[in-house]
Subunit: 313 residues, 2 copies
């Protein structure tokens, strides 16, 4: 097992006075492709090269309608949920994210374990996987705020103690991503560079950072270099499509003044062998609903999603 | 001549307690197409139908370089300019717009009169045209702010006293518009609906509205209706391309976290017969550098732009 105390940190951040671009020391894809793998050979090499992969129409119309009903009920009336898991828009009361949805909603628990998600994560990471984090995201129309560029791994490493890059995120689109409604933007290929950020992390930083990122923010020069080299991709997609992205790919999103809201269910799968150690940059790790310290392996579940519509109050 | 005092306002706004969608009472294109016209028949009907038209590669690489040098010099060192014409980013010092550039810079004066712009305006409006407004816009990378949906005509009518819809804007791209750097978004076809807005206009509103729009803001339901009916277009284009848009087409732009800034030179041509009257919703009209009350007809100038690079201090 990796022990933080015995090895120099391979991914230092928020401890230097100058930003730095460091090389990735870990693989991106941990499996070799084989017949029967849950992604095609071309998809595997796209993920390896770009650090993300879009799969269209993974869930059919009926499954999408089911997920949308469940998500709508959670976002519209979050009163039954654990208070701390419900994050509102800065300066507003509209719900922006709900964390730990797999623990609070049956549909989301089933979705997290779906073989079309967990099975792919298992294959790409070549290990048992567990949910490091889950959430439902909602970016309202008209006044949706931007989310600045970041590598998830940087935060998970510094604030949560994730040792190495052996994790990935899967976003299940519940509303259409168009070019114009502030879709996820990614810098393809950026997952091979680790941007070591400036500054120290204040205590309980997560309470603000879920709304607005002030620490763990890459510097503009490094970002410009990455974009100059790799460009920017903003995959569009219909509800039921899926975006799989590496833990270290640089991503963000613009604000959204269109009437079209964005919404997705978001799951972070981490390899069990890569479970959290002591955080690399703070004393107190973030709470469990943001970064799970219980690496319970998921058993992928095959078959379609189905369920009763929730009873509206 | 149209006299505001004798006729009921055909385009009331900011005087009702309920928002309203009113029909456009004026033509969009005032000329019939004929051989030798400065746009093709198809372009004319596109403009009439959508309320905007994109013309690629209007200016060649050398002309673009010349305009970019001039624009860069103005934005980078605005000290020689009239102070009130220089608008900074909200809460920042970075220059966001410079108004009345045709009065303050030879290259911009020549550009405003260029037959590829003024000649097209003359044709589409079928009248002598003059510059209602000119400006240089710069939306920085990384932290560019959004600009919410609006019809320019609504403001020009209420705050400046522009009687009817017989004006258009031409934006000359000085940086590339991509899908991701907060490009101009337009609702095609929205120019045929006039969204009467709520609220009264405070005194000297323009001082804030150039940075952030709080009045003359269309309501969300009307906007959603327009988008549902017509969709959203966000034309991309390289420097030297031109976007021509009707005075009443609904438009706005998202923020921009990409490293790619946006910049354009922006000219509003109004028909001389449509010169400003008394404002329809305020007592004191906005100052001349924002809304000219001197309808001096422009004589279109043929030929390429050329000039010396400015001397940097």
């Amino acid at each position: 097992m990796f022990t933080a105390e015995l090895v120099a940190d391979p991914y230092p951040s928020r401890c230097n006075t100058e930003p730095e671009i460091l090389p990735r020391l870990d693989p991106v894809t941990y499996s070799r492709w084989h017949p029967g793998a849950p992604v095609s050979k071309a998809q595997l090499s796209t993920f390896d090269r770009d650090g993300f992969l879009v799969l269209d129409d993974v869930f059919d119309a009926e499954e999408v309608a089911f997920m949308q009903r469940e998500a709508g009920a959670l976002l519209g009336d979050p009163r039954g949920l654990e208070t701390e898991t419900v994050i509102t828009e800065p300066g507003g009361r509209e719900v922006r994210s709900i964390f730990a949805i797999h623990r609070q909603n049956q549909c989301m628990a089933r979705l997290a374990a779906d073989s079309r998600l967990a099975g792919v994560a298992y294959f790409l990471l070549d290990d048992d996987v567990y949910l490091h984090q889950s959430r439902l995201n909602y970016k309202p129309g008209f006044h949706g705020k931007e989310f600045y560029w970041h590598s998830d791994f940087e935060t998970w490493h510094v604030e949560d103690g994730m040792p190495r890059m052996r994790a990935l995120s899967i976003s299940v689109l519940l509303a259409e991503n168009t070019f114009n409604n502030g879709p996820l933007m990614l810098i393809p290929g950026s997952h091979r560079s680790y941007l070591s950020c400036l500054g120290e992390t204040p205590e309980d930083h997560y309470k603000m950072s879920l709304k607005r990122q002030d620490y763990g923010v890459p510097d503009e020069l490094s970002l410009a270099e990455l974009v100059y080299e790799h460009g920017i991709d903003a995959p569009t997609g219909k509800p039921g499509s899926v975006v799989i992205f590496d833990c270290n790919v640089m991503h963000g999103s613009n604000g959204n003044i269109t009437p079209l809201p964005r919404s997705n269910a978001f799951f972070v799968y981490n390899a069990v062998s890569n479970r959290l150690a002591h955080p690399y940059g703070v004393d107190k790790p973030r709470p469990d609903f943001i970064a799970s310290r219980q690496p319970e392996p998921i058993t992928p579940v095959a078959g379609r999603l189905h369920g009763q519509a929730p009873q509206w109050p």
